[in-house]
């Protein structure tokens, strides 16, 4: 029953979408400016997609196993929260969410203050995107397919996906990915009508920050999940799926900055337009990689090659037409093409180039194995060292430009104040670095450079804040940049100074390594709602600090799977991280994996600061000056 309603609302949405495209085209060719109908149709499309989404949630909530998607991804014994979140944890459901966000952004955009012609051309382009994906959804991955006879029980959801953070991270990631669709459509409309100007940049900036902030939240949540759920002590594994979200983030961060430059200096419009197109295209590419099943990852659940091919074709068509419009309607800057090198604009441009370089590095690392496999049937994998070796040295240079960019002016260059700033910041940075390395008692050149330049950025931001007459001025930028400085600092310290202990241990036994003492106190059994659990209780001592950690192993019953639940004690200086493993060869011993991860908490804090900066920019309409 629900399935029929769901299917109907999707088809109604598709028909309305057709009608909208037709009605707009008619308007367009008759050169009429009557957009009321398009406006209402646009809302109606959103309403019906929303209805379909709610019906799908409902099917999952009541465990309606006559629905194929529910049968394959749910189970009646699962907690309600995971039943509902399971609806977007699978391919079909996530595509409904994808389209819903496309439609919601389209509706929201109709409230923006953009001139009617430009606004409705944007909505027209957005609805073309909706058309492509609705067809894809209905014909290749319908979420309301029915199984007959109705099975009595579902197959269950992969237990490592049963986690609160993981359940909420896809919606954030999707709002980010798909949020860039409206900027993409707006950019195409702006290019087409030759209105890619200062006003365009101004009107686009809020939408860019919204999508960027959501994307950052999504990536952050995903990486926190990877940290405590996968049990390998890391927060970023250069997994292709993680890379698929990092690539649009790099593109959008470049876009965010170049758009500010376009707004302020009326230059680089073509670059900004190109980045707007690139950001959404890479978001789509990410979706394709994750959904096509060609990636070897927990996320890749689609195993139907048709789906991958269709999305690939859609990406090709969309990007082909986007680049065609871009080339035919290449935006021109009204300003003379003179550039002062020592200005904020050119520093932003330089860092834009770094972002694009990072993007290329990550893309090559992710796509090269896929191409090699497709063309020569050779399986390879690219090690994390590839990324670290290429990104770390350039990150250091980027930090320097990032520190000085905001301290420079847009139009004029004051040599004295630059030299003064360099000396001032370098001195303070050197002093703090020496103090830090005195405590670390560990030295390597790259670690030193990483620490030095991240502190350099942090100090530059602090100086910048004090130089403002009102502290709240440029607050969004300063908080995000401050967060970024802390992020790089923590990542460097974390990468170089993490410690690991891997040993078998018996109940009652104590293990000592350097300053750390691990005592295995006892082992308990317990019963969860849909799993059995063995919990180990450990007493950890580090110097004068003593605390308990209780990692466990869970055996999920549907589907049968064992997961290792980590136990983590976070402190300001570092995390103590413990996971256990059973091994039939160790008799009464249990294998433990213990990590000491310095400044782990600060990685999460700094990502929150970056996000917080984005939020400030969204809610306070003050611009960069």
């Amino acid at each position: 029953m629900i399935g029929t309603f769901g299917n109907s609302s999707l088809i109604i949405a598709l028909l309305l979408n057709f009608y909208l495209l037709f009605s707009y085209s008619l308007n367009f060719f008759k050169k009429k400016n009557n957009f009321q109908k398009v406006r209402y149709l646009n809302f109606l499309v959103t309403v019906f997609v929303f209805l379909a989404f709610i019906l799908l949630l409902w099917s999952f909530a009541i465990s309606d196993f006559s629905n194929t998607a529910v049968y394959q991804n749910s189970h009646s014994q699962k907690p309600l929260f995971y039943k509902i979140s399971g609806s977007w944890g699978n391919h079909e459901g996530s595509m409904v969410l994808f389209i819903l966000i496309l439609a919601i952004f389209s509706s929201l955009f109709s409230f923006s203050g953009v001139r009617d012609n430009l606004k409705y051309l944007t909505i027209f382009f957005q609805n073309i995107l909706i058309l492509f994906f609705l067809i894809f959804l209905i014909f290749t991955s319908n979420p309301f397919d029915v199984i007959r006879p109705t099975p009595a029980e579902g197959l269950g959801l992969n237990p490592i996906l049963q986690d609160p953070l993981l359940s909420i991270h896809p919606p954030f990631l999707y709002v980010g990915y798909v949020g860039f669709s409206i900027i993409f459509s707006f950019a195409l409309a702006g290019l087409y009508l030759e209105e890619f100007t200062k006003l365009w940049s101004k009107q686009a900036s809020l939408w860019i920050v919204i999508a960027w902030t959501f994307l950052t939240v999504g990536i952050g949540l995903g990486s926190i999940w990877a940290y405590y759920e996968l049990g390998w002590g890391g927060f970023w594994f250069w997994d292709p799926v993680e890379n698929a979200s990092l690539v649009p983030w790099l593109a959008s961060t470049a876009l965010l900055h170049s758009n500010i430059t376009s707004m302020k200096t009326e230059k680089f419009f073509s670059w900004t337009a190109l980045l707007a197109i690139l950001t959404f295209t890479t978001s789509l590419l990410g979706t394709f990689l994750v959904r096509s099943g060609i990636l070897n990852s927990v996320h890749a659940f689609a195993n139907d090659p048709d789906r991958g091919l269709y999305i690939l074709a859609v990406i090709m068509i969309i990007s082909f037409f986007a680049f065609l419009i871009f080339i035919l309607k290449f935006p021109k800057s009204p300003m003379p093409n003179v550039l002062i090198f020592w200005s904020r604009g050119s520093f932003i441009l330089i860092n834009n180039c770094f972002m694009i370089f990072f993007l290329v590095v990550v893309m090559v690392g992710t796509l090269y194995p896929i191409f090699l496999d497709a063309l020569f049937e050779k399986s390879i994998s690219v090690g994390p060292n590839y990324y670290n070796a290429l990104l770390a040295p350039f990150m250091i240079v980027l930090l320097w430009f990032m520190a000085h960019g905001p301290l420079l002016e847009w139009y004029k260059f004051n040599k004295q104040s630059l030299i003064k700033a360099i000396l001032q910041i370098s001195f303070l940075t050197l002093v703090s670095s020496i103090i830090i390395f005195f405590y670390l008692k560990d030295f390597s050149l790259l670690l030193f450079l990483g620490v030095f330049f991240s502190i350099y950025l942090i100090i530059a931001v602090i100086i910048d804040v004090f130089k403002q007459k009102i502290i709240s001025k440029n607050l969004a930028r300063n908080i995000s940049h401050f967060g970024f400085g802390i992020l790089v600092f923590s990542i460097f310290i974390n990468a170089y100074l993490s410690k690991e202990i891997n040993v078998p241990i018996k109940v009652g036994q104590t293990i000592k390594q350097n300053a750390i003492e691990i005592q295995f106190k006892n082992i308990l059994k317990s019963q969860g709602k849909n799993f059995e659990e063995i919990i180990g209780n450990f007493l950890i001592k580090d110097g004068t600090r003593a605390f308990e950690l209780s990692p466990s192993l869970r055996k999920y019953l549907q589907p049968v799977q064992v997961t290792s639940e980590t136990s983590i004690k976070s402190t300001l200086f570092g995390d103590y991280y413990l996971a256990i493993n059973l091994s039939e060869f160790e008799g009464d011993k249990i294998m433990i994996r213990f990590y000491h991860k310095p400044l782990m908490l600060w990685i999460w804090i700094s990502i929150s600061l970056i996000i917080f900066g984005g939020l400030i920019r969204i809610f306070r309409k003050q611009n960069e000056s």
């Binding site: 490592i160 996968l230 290329v360 399986s379 994998s381 070796a389 290429l390 192993l553 799977q561 091994s583």
Partner: protein, 141 residues
């Protein structure tokens, strides 16, 4: 020969071109340094020159082949017709089970003996890495 603006543009293009070339070179060098090739047990039996670098090997852990000798584990990785004995020092992940698929990283000693330094297991029990599935398929063909 050229006007001033053309000269400037040429300068800019050549500088950008050189920088791009250097960066591409960087990427190329790092890529070739950090690539790990994947082999199936059948591939190993067929190749003439054994790879000296670190490689990945994927297959099924043969039933009743897992043994522990002092601190070393030893087991047989198979594609159901070609067997390779693997020795491993370290901790076995809980997802490492006899009769299920596994991907290991390490180096070959000879055609029948592999020294693993990592066992890659991030996935659930029913999941089979595509490389392993391919390797098994190749063998049945």
């Amino acid at each position: 020969m050229f006007s001033k603006s053309v000269q400037n543009r040429l300068k800019l293009f050549s500088v950008v071109g050189i920088i791009v070339l250097i960066l591409v070179l960087f990427i190329q060098i790092q890529l070739s340094k950090n690539i790990v090739y994947f082999y199936s047990p059948k591939d190993i039996k067929q190749i003439q020159n054994l790879p000296k670098d670190k490689i990945r090997l994927g297959g099924i852990v043969k039933e009743r082949s897992l043994k522990k000798i002092e601190n070393d584990y030893s087991f047989i990785l198979t594609d159901r017709s070609n067997d390779i004995t693997v020795s491993y020092k370290g901790i076995l992940p809980s997802l490492f089970v006899e009769g299920k698929s596994a991907v290991i990283e390490g180096s070959l000693k000879d055609k029948n003996f592999f020294i693993a330094d990592t066992i890659l297991a991030k996935h659930d029990e029913n999941y089979m890495p595509p490389e392993v599935a391919n390797a098994l398929k190749k063998n049945t063909k």
